[in-house]
Symmetry: C2
Subunit: 617 residues, 2 copies
C-alpha cells in the first residue's frame, strides 16, 4: 500500500496515510477521534494539530485564516486541510480529541527516575537439615541482612503464611520484596514487582498497573464507582454512610470489591496475578478516602468541616480486603481539607516541581471544585461547591458524557454546529456541551449578561416552566428522537456553578493580594476540565480572561500524581511537604464572599475586584 | 460465731475455723480441696501445710513422725492434725491441693516492675473551629508529641475509625495508648489499660487478664481448646490441618473464636470490655502457634522438622480476627524448634533470671515433653514424644483429670488408698493416678523391674487381652460402677512415656558431659507436672534420683512467662535472648539414643551412663 506512516502523539498510535488523504481522515481510520464540527471543510477550526516531524502539504487559505504566521511556523495546522508528503509525527492537543477517544486515565507522561518504596532482592538460602533446622523466617532474614547488608526485622505474616511451600518449590532461591525493614512479598527469581496506582473518584475509578522496577505503566483501565447507586455526589454519599455503620461498611465493601476487580482486570491484561502487586497508592477526595479506609465521614459535612485524617496513611492492603500480595501496603496521599482530598494533592504533585517562580493556579473541576494558588511563597487552597450541573445534573436535557451526548457546540453564522460522542444521533448534552452552549448563546446575543434569555430569538420558545432555546429540533434533524433544548433554568444552574469556581479563584487572589493579571499559568485538571473549551469558559466569566497560552489542560493529573507517588519515594515525601505548607481557606468564612459570588454569576469577560465587576472589551 | 479467721495462701481465701476444728476441715468448708487419702487420721501425710502466722495446737505424734525437728520448726504440719488457737495464715503447697481446686492458671507469682510496651498518656486537645479545621488525627499526633515529648507518627486505622465521635463525646480530652511510635487505642481519661496473656495448649487454653499499668492480674480463666475435636494430640492436629487449606483455616477460626470468648468472659468478670484490651501476649507449642497465625504446619512434622518462624512475632490482633482494641497487637514469644514452642520459652522466662550458677533442668511434661538443661554456659534443649498416656489415653481405664478420676493412689500395708477428684465415686484413673499406681505396684512388688506383672498377686487377674491389676473392685466398693484396673499393656505405655522423658534428660546431660548428680535443681512445669508425686516419679525412673528438695513444681509457668512478657518490655527482650542462645538437640539424631531409651524403660531407681543402667539402693 502506497502512503506514509504517521505517528500520532501523545497517544503513540500509528496511522497509514494515503498521499491524497488528510491527517483527519488518516487519524479517524486509525481509530483516533479528532473533533470535526464542520465535517472537514476547514471552517470550524476544531481539528487543530501540530506537525512535529516530516513534510506536509502547504497551508490552505482556511489554515492561514485560523492561525497567525508564528503559529504556522510552529507547525500548527488543521488536520482536515493537511496531507503528509512523507512519514512523520503529529501532535494532537487534548482539546482536539473527542470525548470517547480521550484516554482520561492517561494524564501527563511520567518522567521521574523510578525509586520505589518496595525493592527487590535476590536471595540464596541453604537447604535445611537435621543439624540446621532453623526456621524459614529466621533463615530468610539472616540471609537477606547478610547478603545485602540490610537491617530487615520483620516478614509480613501473610507473606510468611505462603513461604514454606514456596521456598521449597523455588529450590531455596527467590526474590524478596523489601519495604523499609519489612519483607512484604516473595517471588521466584527473577520476577517483576507490580504496583497499582488508583484515582478513586466519586463517579469514576481509574487504575494504572505499573512495573515498579522500571517505572513503566503497563496497563490502564477505568470503571464506574459502584457507590454511585447510593448517592450521586459527595454530600449524598456522606448522608447515606452516616445513616448507620452498616451502610458505611456497605459502601466500603462495594469500593473494595471494585478495586479488586479493577486490579484483577489490569493484571490479566499483562498476564500477571493480583498477588504480584507488592505496592499501591490511592488518591481520592476526602470522603472517598475516608469511606474506603473505614473512617467516619459525618464530620466532613458539618461545620467546622474536619477530616478524621489528613496526613498520608500506610495501611496493609489486606486489612482493607484488597487481594494484592498479602504483605502489600496501600499508601494514601495526604488530604488537604474536608473538601480538598488527596486527589488534589496528587494534581499538585503531578504539575508542580517545587514552588514555581510564576504565580500558578491549579483547578480540578468537579461537583466539588478544588482550586490552589501557588507562588514562590507557598500554596493557598480552597474548595467550592460547583455542583453537578457540569455533569449534566439539574439540566433539562443534560446527560453524562456518553454516546449521543452533544459535547461540542458552536454558533457560526447564526447556524448551530455540534458534535456528539460516537457521532451518534444527539440525545442530550453533556458538561462540555452545556458550557459551549451557554457561551455561544451569550456571544450570539441570545443570552444577556445577567443570563436572561432573549424571548424574541427565533429559536426561543416557552417550555413547560421556562423559556427554552432549541438547540436541535427534531423537525430539522430526522434522526434526533426529540428536540434538545437549554432552558432559562439550565442557564441559571450553569451561572451558579461557574460563579462558584470563579469565586474560589477570586478568594485565593484576594487572600494573596493579587489581581488576575498576576496569574501566569492556569492548570486545569480532571476529566471535565480537559474537555472544556477554555475560550468559552473565559467568555462566560468562569475563568478570568488571560492569554490562551497561559492555560494548560493536563487530563487526569490526579492519576499521574498517584503513579508518581507509586514509583518514587521522593515524590511521596514531596506530597507530604506540599500539604504541610498549604494554607486552606474556607470560602464560607471569607468576607464579601456573597458579593463576589453574585458578581461572578454574570456572563461575559470581566475582572473582579473587591466585590466589583469591571467588563473587558 | 466463735472461732478464728485463717487465710490460706497462695489462694488468698479466708476460712472461719472453730476452736476445735482442724485446718483440714476449715479449708474444706472454705471450698479448698486439700488432699486427704487417710480421711484425716494423720497417717497418709498428704495434707502437708506450712504455718505462717498465728498460734496453733502442738504437734501430734503423727506430725512428729511425718516431719523432722527442723521442718516442724519451719512450721510444717499436717492440716488434719492442727487446730488454730488464734487468727492466722497458712500456706498450702501445691502438692497438697486436689486437682480440681488447683488453680492451674495461677502459676508462680509475678514480681517484676510493670514496664508495659503500651503506655497511657493524657491528652488535651483544642476544639476545632472554622479557622482551625485540622484533621483529628493530625491534631492528636501533634498534641501528644508536643505535650509528652514523643515522636509518634502513626495512629492505627482501626483506632482512628472510632476516634471522631469519641473525641467529641470525651470533650477533647482522652487517654491515648502508645506502643512504640504508634497510637493503638483511645479511652476516656482516666481509664485503665487491660492486657491479655494466653497459654494456648493443645488441650487447654488459659487466659489472664492483667491491669497493664499496675501489672496486677485481675482475672484468670481456662477453657478447652476446641480444636481437640480434630485431633487429640499435636501430630493428628497437624495431619488434619495439612489435608487442605480450608481445614487449616477452620482450625484457625475455632481457636480465634475461643480466644475471643475467653477474653470476653474475663472482661465481663471485671466489668470491662474486650475493646479495653490494648496489648496481648500468647504462648503455645509451635504447632498451636503456627495454626493460630495461619502458618503452614506440614514442615513441622517431616524431617528435618523446620518451623516457619521461630523469632517473636508482633501481629495486629485484628488481623487474626481477635476483637480486642482495634489497634492492639498480639505478641507471640519466640519458638525454639518444631516441637519446642513459645510455651517452653515462657517456662524458661518465668523460672530463670539470667543463667543460673547451678545446673538446672526444666521439664514441661505433656504429650510432647520439652526438657532444657541450663547452666552458666547456656541452654541445651530437646523434646521427646512422651505420648498421651499421662493424659489417660491408651490406658484401659484412663481418663482426663475430671470428676471421679483417681488422682492419688498409695499402697499402705498392702491396702490400696486412693483419692478421686471431687471425692466422687471412682470411674477411672487420670495421669497422676496412673503414675502413682505404677510406682506403688512396683514398690509393692506387684511389678518387676522390667514392668512384668506378678500373676500370682491376689489382685491380678487375666483380662480380655492382658493381665490386669484390680485397683478398685466393684464388689468391695458398692458405689463404684465397675472395677478399675491397670493392665500389663497400660504399664508398658507408661514405661514408654517415662522412658522418653528420662532419655531426653539423659541426652542433655551427655551432650554437656554431665552426670545426673550435677543437676542441682529440677523445675517441673505444666498441669500434669504439678500434680505428680515426685517421689513416685523417681521410684519408676522417670526422673533421676536426686534429693527431693531439688525439685520444684511450678504450676503453669508458661502462663506466668506470658504474663511477664505482657507487663514487661525487658522480659520480652529477655525471652528473645534466651531463645537466641539455645542449642537444640534433635533426639533422633543422638548416637546411642535407642540403647538409652531401652534402659530408661526399666522401673526402679537407677543412674544412666553411656547406655548403661546402674541401680541405686
Amino acid at each position: 500500500m502506497e502512503g506514509y506512516k504517521i505517528k500520532f502523539e501523545p497517544l503513540g498510535l500509528t496511522g497509514h496515510c494515503r498521499a491524497d488523504e488528510s491527517l483527519l481522515a488518516c487519524a479517524q481510520s486509525a481509530g483516533i477521534g479528532i473533533i470535526s464540527l464542520c465535517g472537514g471543510k476547514g471552517n470550524c477550526q476544531s481539528c487543530k494539530v501540530q506537525l512535529v516531524e516530516g513534510t506536509f502539504s502547504k497551508p490552505t487559505a482556511q489554515e492561514l485564516k485560523a492561525y497567525s504566521r508564528q503559529e504556522i511556523k510552529e507547525g500548527w495546522r488543521l488536520a482536515c486541510q493537511t496531507c503528509p508528503t512523507s512519514d512523520g509525527k503529529v501532535g494532537i492537543p487534548s482539546t482536539s480529541l473527542t470525548t470517547t477517544q480521550r484516554v482520561q486515565t492517561e494524564g501527563q507522561e511520567i518522567a521521574v527516575p523510578p525509586e520505589p518504596v518496595v525493592l527487590p532482592y535476590q536471595l540464596k538460602l541453604k537447604t535445611p537439615s537435621l543439624t540446621d533446622a532453623q526456621a524459614d523466617a529466621d533463615r530468610v532474614l539472616k540471609a537477606i541482612n547478610h547478603q545485602h547488608k540490610l537491617r530487615c526485622d520483620n516478614i509480613d505474616i501473610g507473606a510468611l503464611s505462603q513461604l514454606a511451600p514456596q521456598l521449597r518449590s523455588w529450590k531455596w532461591q527467590c526474590r524478596a520484596s523489601v519495604r523499609e525493614k519489612e519483607l512484604v512479598a516473595f517471588g521466584p527469581w527473577p520476577s517483576r514487582q507490580l504496583g497499582l496506582a488508583v484515582d478513586l473518584g466519586t463517579s469514576k475509578i481509574s487504575g494504572y498497573l505499573v512495573d515498579l522496577d522500571s517505572g513503566q505503566t503497563l496497563a490502564v483501565n477505568g470503571m464506574s464507582n459502584p457507590q454511585i447507586s447510593y448517592g450521586e455526589d459527595i454530600i449524598s454519599r456522606i448522608a447515606y454512610a452516616t445513616q448507620s455503620a452498616a451502610k458505611a461498611a456497605q459502601l466500603q465493601r462495594l469500593v473494595v470489591k471494585a478495586l479488586n476487580k479493577l486490579a484483577s482486570e489490569l493484571c490479566t491484561e499483562v498476564k500477571a496475578k493480583v498477588g504480584d502487586i507488592v505496592d499501591s497508592v490511592l488518591v481520592g477526595n476526602t470522603a472517598m478516602h475516608h469511606l474506603l479506609v473505614g473512617l467516619p465521614v459525618k464530620q466532613l459535612a458539618v461545620s467546622p468541616f474536619v477530616p478524621t485524617v489528613s496526613r498520608a496513611l500506610d495501611i496493609k492492603a489486606s486489612r482493607l480486603g484488597l487481594k494484592f500480595a498479602p504483605g502489600a501496603y496501600l499508601h494514601l496521599l495526604p488530604n488537604i481539607a474536608a473538601f480538598v482530598g488527596a486527589d488534589h494533592t496528587a494534581v499538585l504533585l503531578a504539575t508542580l516541581n517545587g514552588l514555581p517562580k510564576e504565580t500558578t493556579v491549579a483547578i480540578d473541576i468537579g461537583t466539588n471544585t478544588e482550586v490552589s494558588l501557588i507562588d514562590q511563597d507557598g500554596i493557598t487552597t480552597t474548595s467550592c461547591a460547583s455542583g453537578p450541573a457540569f455533569e449534566g445534573w439539574h439540566i433539562k436535557d443534560g446527560m453524562r458524557a456518553a454516546t449521543g451526548a452533544i459535547e461540542r457546540l458552536r454558533i457560526v453564522n447564526n447556524k448551530i454546529q455540534y458534535q456528539t460522542i460516537d457521532d451518534a444521533p444527539a440525545i442530550g448534552i453533556c458538561g462540555s456541551g452545556i458550557l459551549d452552549t451557554v457561551a455561544q448563546l451569550y456571544l450570539a446575543g441570545a443570552l444577556g449578561e445577567g443570563g436572561k434569555m432573549d424571548e424574541k430569538n427565533r429559536r426561543v420558545r416557552r417550555g413547560e416552566k421556562h423559556l427554552e432555546f432549541v438547540l436541535v429540533g427534531n423537525k430539522e434533524k430526522k434522526d434526533v428522537p426529540r428536540a434538545i433544548v437549554i432552558t432559562q433554568q439550565d442557564v441559571r444552574e450553569i451561572q451558579l456553578a461557574k460563579a462558584a469556581i470563579r469565586t474560589g479563584i477570586q478568594a485565593l487572589l484576594e487572600a494573596n493580594g493579587y489581581g488576575e493579571e498576576k496569574i501566569k499559568r492556569v492548570i486545569i485538571a480532571g476529566a471535565f476540565g480537559t474537555y472544556i473549551d477554555v475560550a468559552n469558559a473565559m467568555a462566560i466569566g468562569m475563568l478570568p480572561t488571560l492569554p490562551p497560552e497561559r492555560f494548560q489542560q493536563v487530563g487526569n493529573a490526579a492519576g499521574t500524581g498517584a503513579r508518581l507517588a507509586l514509583i518514587s519515594r521522593a515524590k511521596r515525601a514531596a506530597a507530604q511537604k506540599i500539604v504541610s505548607g498549604i494554607k486552606y481557606i474556607e470560602l464560607a468564612g471569607v468576607p464579601g464572599f456573597s458579593k463576589t459570588f453574585m458578581q461572578a454569576s454574570y456572563l461575559g469577560k470581566y475582572r473582579l475586584k473587591q466585590g466589583k465587576r469591571e467588563k473587558i472589551g
